[in-house]
């Protein structure tokens, strides 16, 4: 059928078999290029050009002012000697694993809670999503203030309720700093991820649930045999967004913990930022960025294949 259509299209004169294309076709082709041009310019200027520049920087010793000097593969070889970056890789992976699992569970729970239409559901959907409208840096400062041992309201509240007997060192120990940051991320992103899952849940036809119920399936069976399998593409999207976002974590640690205590919450992007803007090692920072980019592309390709 397809072959016939294509042939008939050719016969109808869309593109002649011999000789130069007619003026009308040439005009359509030019129009196509023109329509694509604004986007192509934006992609070229804002994505491709910086990408090429970063790769080129990673192959050079790149001072703030003055000419660059080619030193490949020196910047890449130095990465293995950077103990801070090596530690940051393992910390970021640990943070990504914990955050992704918790975020998925909380977002799915919230989505299931507000899935059905009913009185007050709109309020809860809005309430759960609202933290997503707060900027990440602002959210970091908010948590810093809320959990501050000197003037934050959380400690006095917990003590008044008898839950704790003395101020909790929310960002004073490595474990507490990590989990306080994860709490911040859950608060900030659970609602947004809930929204993504909600669209997936609402795309599942009601008839499928009705058929399952009439066949005698219980709530648990419906969830494991229908909801989860049909939600798989949406879950995959959420996982990819969560893993990518977590591996690129910066604001939450930069603002909230500043990498402390004792460098226990330093993410990979923080090390790159430090190399570029505190050590002025632009070539080294570019090399680490390229490594991170390649790892991200590889990981996302793998995840898309597995979750498809």
């Amino acid at each position: 059928m397809t072959v016939t259509s294509m042939r008939s299209g050719t016969r109808s004169g869309r593109r002649p078999a011999h000789g130069a294309p007619p003026a009308r076709w040439r005009s359509r082709k030019a129009q196509g290029w023109l329509y694509a041009a604004p986007t192509a310019v934006i992609v070229g200027v804002l994505f491709l050009a910086p990408l090429v520049l970063v790769v080129w920087m990673s192959l050079n010793r790149w001072p703030l002012l003055g000419p660059a000097r080619f030193n490949a593969p020196g910047n890449y070889l130095r990465i293995a000697d950077n103990a801070l970056f090596v530690d940051a890789v393992s910390f970021t992976l640990k943070y990504t694993a914990i955050t992704t699992v918790l975020l998925s569970a909380v977002a799915l729970g919230l989505a299931l809670l507000v899935q059905e239409r009913g009185p007050g559901i709109g309020f809860f959907r809005t309430a759960f999503f609202l933290p997503g409208a707060v900027g990440f840096a602002a959210a970091g400062l908010l948590f810093y203030g809320m959990l501050n041992n000197d003037f934050g309201p959380i400690d006095p509240m917990l003590q008044a309720l008898g839950i704790t007997s003395e101020p909790v060192k929310w960002i004073g120990t490595p474990d507490m700093a990590l989990f306080s940051t994860i709490a911040l991320v859950l608060w900030r992103f659970a609602g947004f991820n809930m929204l993504i899952l909600l669209t997936g849940l609402q795309a599942i036809p009601v008839e499928v649930y009705e058929a399952a119920r009439s066949d005698g399936a219980g709530r648990r069976q419906i969830f494991t045999k229908i909801t989860l399998p049909l939600l798989r593409p949406t879950l995959a999207l959420m996982l990819i967004l969560s893993v990518t976002g977590s591996l690129l974590a910066f604001d939450q640690f930069f603002v909230f913990t500043n990498g402390g205590p004792d460098n226990s919450t330093v993410s990979m992007v923080m090390v790159i930022y430090r190399a570029a803007f505190f050590r002025f090692d632009l070539g080294g920072a570019a090399a680490m960025s390229v490594v991170l980019l390649v790892a991200l592309v590889g990981l996302n390709t793998l995840m898309m294949r597995r979750l498809r």
């Binding site: 005009s27 030019a30 129009q31 023109l34 329509y35 041009a37 604004p38 310019v41 200027v45 001072p63 703030l64 002012l65 003055g66 801070l84 501050n148 041992n149 000197d150 101020p167 060192k169 960002i171 004073g172 500043n258 990498g259 402390g260 205590p261 004792d262 460098n263 330093v266 923080m270 090390v271 930022y273 430090r274 570029a276 803007f277 505190f278 050590r279 002025f280 632009l282």
Partner: protein
Amino acid sequence: MRRRLAGISLLGVLTLTAAACGSGGGSQPADGPVTITMWTRAATQAQSERLVKAYNSSHKNQVKLTVIPTDNYQPRIAAAAGAKQLPDVFAADVIFVPNYTSQGLFMDVTDRIAALPYKDALAPSHMKLGTLDGRQYTLPHTLDLSVWFWNKDLYTKAGLDPEKGPTTLKEFAEHATTIQDKLGKYGEVHGTFFGGNCGGCYVFTFWPSVWAAGGQVMNPEGTTSLNDQPAMTEVFKIYRELYENKVTGPTTKEEQGPTWTGFFPKGEIGVMPMPSTMLGLMPEDMKIGVTAIAGPDGGESTFVGGDSIGVSATSEHADAAWEFLSWTVSDEAQVEIMAKNKDVVARTDLAGNTYSAEDPHVELINSLVARGQTPYALRFGQTFNDPQGPWLRLAREAVFGDASKIPQLNAEITKSLQQ
């Protein structure tokens, strides 16, 4: 219709291209008044604003000041330098200046400085750090010295002599402990406080005690750390005991820097090291004493901090920029703007001026400029100020953790200094 759409698209692309390639309209007429751009960090915003306001009201050329959050200042300078978009003049924390000059960010102003009649009276520490290979690049902009502040009311309540501040670090610890014991029962008053998770705070407040004892923290070239030497470890030990005996405020260990000076003006701290610029920010009814920082057994010194300022290497208005910079260190600006507002003057020949004579605290701080030190190191920021740098780890282990790690961490500091 399609042709019209295509035409609109093409126009859009051309407009974008034209906008991207535009000159930005920054050019000035050759002989008219010039507006130069200036950047400063928020920490010295008040002083910069006062200077710029006075200059703009009395000169044909104008200065457009941009204040950038202190924590974000160094990255902004780096990004602007990389894009060759530095302002005409910019101030910088004096300890970062050697790195900036080595990166070629400042214009060489050696000959212009040599023409100043008071060139030998410019703050020596600031001038030393603005010199590279015998060439000079910066002028002192603001001076901020570390000194001990004590709360006279709390001293009286604790039975201490309110007119007699500590003269040794050991005495400082005794005073702080007495205040904690006598007044700290309800957690509203604490003996002392310091920024326990802030590298810059440690160097600013602890190192003067080392210098006062005759020790050093680095070699003169700034390439070898001496922070494992007895002069430094003795200071760490005294502060460690204060922490272990709960004489320090409860958040001392976590204090990252932004709020470390906030507790003393509220009357919550007995005695602590702080920047001299806090003098003008104290409540009017608060009775305070100020003295130089001492070593464990005596002596006195201070960390001469603050900002230096220079013409950026990419400025197209070097003459106008220098006219402003040289005016900021003139008698008029230093006395009528800086000294009048209780700021430390940038010239030693103006230390005893009409305004400082009115306040013995200011007179004392001015007199410390020539006696204090500003350590020199090309890699200072990444080693000592950066929260991920090796110094903060050493200081925290020495004060709160495993002090036996000091030699190993000191070697990491040296490695960072030599990168």
